[in-house]
């Protein structure tokens, strides 16, 4: 049944990939979009830059259809998937025995404890790969990512501040700090709370974990996010995967208040 579920997930991914860039609701032209002669956004157009000289990551981004590895490029970074972060990792995801057992338990319970199923924050990886879009708003000192899914909100500090060292309460989103290496924004996140899910199948993320993301806007319409997960309690070694996103123009996020009519949990197995 699980393979069927994942096959349906793949079908959904392919289905959702057909969503046009200029979606139907609500249409309103986005400023400063390079266009082709027929008025469509030029995805291969130049990368926009801020007035202070960095690449500008701002925009509404959708999980990109297709993508994946070029089979001819042996050095391509494996693509993460929404259901299984390490689906394309050679040799599989390097789970520790503890993490392997926890993941198996989560799957045996039909993923009913996925924070997403309870309208809670779903974590960086599920947010990166979620079929609902996200808006990045970049200032000189802060990158804010507004996720339509469960109305998530993430702050990435770009002002050079250090990570907190006063034993703070760990957070669902962790504490993110970023800096530029050329035209790539490198973001390091620590101080995660325990109990995180890196994918729908329940790959764990613990309070010992550090996630490093490298955001590179390769053209106007494309964003590559290379993610390294380093969590010694859950994984025997750090591993790296990639997420690709594509710009959405002339549209907006749609309010999604998960708790307004949440009914599913009353039908969950309670054993």
């Amino acid at each position: 049944m699980k393979n069927w579920l994942q096959a349906m997930g793949l079908l959904a991914i392919l289905t959702l990939s057909a969503t046009p860039l200029s979606a139907q609701w609500p249409d309103y032209p986005t400023r400063n979009v390079p266009r082709t002669p027929d008025g469509e956004p030029d995805l291969n157009g130049p990368v926009p830059r801020t007035s202070w000289g960095t690449v500008d990551l701002s925009g509404i981004w959708a999980r990109q259809s297709g993508g994946g590895n070029d089979e001819e490029d042996a050095n391509a970074i494996p693509q993460a998937t929404f259901f299984d972060i390490g689906a394309n990792l050679e040799g599989g995801t390097p789970y520790t025995p503890w993490a392997e057992e926890l993941r198996a338990e989560r799957m045996a319970n039909d993923m009913r404890d996925n924070p997403d199923a309870h309208c809670l924050p779903i974590g960086h990886m599920q947010l990166h790969l979620h079929p609902q879009p996200r808006r990045m708003v970049q200032t000189e000192d802060l990158l804010v990512i507004i996720y339509e899914s469960n109305y998530g909100l993430r702050e990435i500090f770009l002002d050079g501040r250090p990570a907190p060292d006063n034993n703070p309460i760990p957070w669902w989103y962790g504490y993110s700090r970023g800096w530029w290496e050329g035209d790539t924004l490198v973001v390091e996140t620590t101080h995660f709370r325990d109990g995180g899910w890196l994918d729908v199948n329940g790959s764990p993320l613990t309070g010992e974990g550090t996630i490093t993301e490298r955001f590179t806007r390769t053209e106007f319409g494309h964003l590559e996010i290379v993610v390294t997960v380093d969590d010694p309690k859950a994984y025997t070694e750090p591993f790296t995967v990639q997420v690709d996103q594509e710009i959405m123009v002339d549209t907006a996020l749609i309010e999604f208040i998960c708790n307004e009519n949440e009914r599913s949990t009353e039908y969950f197995d309670q054993d």
């Binding site: 049944m1 997930g9 057909a18 996925n114 079929p131 609902q132 998960c258």
Partner: protein, 143 residues
């Protein structure tokens, strides 16, 4: 599943053989579990596909899942209200559907899967109007 639930299944109008029927209909469905609020396999089972025909009594255009209710009359003439779950209104709206795409009083045939722990709750994979139009599947402009 309890014996009561098994008995309840006999009141269904029709039970479809399998998801292959859905796929054979060539639908670009939006599986309810691949959007926000992932809980499909905790709530529903693909071991119990269903097909029901009834009259829409209510549509809830709310997150995390749009829902609609239909009255189904079985062979005994008993009318039972079924509660169906769709994907989120956000995902439906991006494909051109809206809260008026299905109205109270519409006659529909619904295929999908039953909930594990509720006798008259299902996940709708396909909704077919009496005039043959499909709603909530694929792009509204192509239906």
């Amino acid at each position: 599943m309890t014996s009561t639930e098994f008995e309840d299944m006999r009141h269904l109008s029709r039970i479809v053989i399998g998801a292959g029927l859905m796929l054979a209909m060539g639908l670009a469905v939006i599986p309810a579990h691949v959007d926000a609020h992932h809980a499909f396999s905790a709530e529903f089972t693909r071991d119990l596909p269903l097909e029901l025909t009834g009259t829409v009594t209510k549509v809830e255009w709310m997150n995390p899942h749009a829902r609609f209710y239909i009255n189904v009359e079985d062979e005994d003439g008993t009318v039972v209200e079924w509660d169906f779950e769709l994907t989120s209104p956000n995902m439906l709206m991006r494909r051109g559907w809206n809260r008026d795409s299905l109205k109270e009083g519409d006659e529909v045939t619904v295929t999908g899967f039953r909930a594990k722990n509720a006798p008259h709750v299902g996940n709708a994979s396909n909704v077919l109007l009496a005039d043959g139009r499909r709603v909530f599947a694929g792009d509204a402009n192509q239906n």
